[in-house]
Symmetry: C2
Subunit: 135 residues, 2 copies
Amino acid sequence: MKTTENAIFPKGEKNEIPYFTGTSYLHMLISNDKDFDCVVGNVTFEKKCRNNWHSHPGGQILLVTAGEGYYQEKGKPIRLIKVGDVVEIKPDVIHWHGATPTSEMTHIAINTKASLGLVVWGDAVTDKEYNSYKN
Amino acid sequence: MKTTENAIFPKGEKNEIPYFTGTSYLHMLISNDKDFDCVVGNVTFEKKCRNNWHSHPGGQILLVTAGEGYYQEKGKPIRLIKVGDVVEIKPDVIHWHGATPTSEMTHIAINTKASLGLVVWGDAVTDKEYNSYKN
């Protein structure tokens, strides 16, 4: 199992946002700020953890800093993501992300154009959806 | 000497921007994109390397991912920065950043509100300025 042992930024507190399945941690790096119009956080997903289907009115960029995870856009297959990967999530694209069943995953999340809105949450990702990854 | 051995993102090509003293490397993670209005790059400074005095019309956020470096705003003392540190550079604040004399330094640089302008370059940082760090 790969772990987040090389994580660079603090793991932070247990994430209490009710739109996650499983356990995750959140450490804010940049809070909402009019000068930058960006919000930056470090998110760690324990294995099997994922967030609900959701979208970002202003878009989001993920920079994977440790472990391996999943990223899926609505209507497309799950994409395996790992250390060093960059994920570009365009505004209003419905998607989810999380750890794999066997590895934690940590990413920096940059919410761009934050003034347009940070996130619109949808339904939880079912086990059937989560387990649909094909190598 | 601390090195960038734990760097996560590719080191990239030798940086040919003529506003640096010493050797640096640049790997773009997100190029200028209207949807995000951000530019994201991974920059590695070899020891002693620094960029010129400069400012960002739209601001910049630095996320230090390896090594130790210097950050200085005009009129203030040099600040030592290291792995896990976040530097908030407000729009139009004149500053420079780079490695220390004894350590490489790698940071992710997020240019925010890129449409306002990425960078305005000024004079090189003199050896006297670079060597003014007080522990």
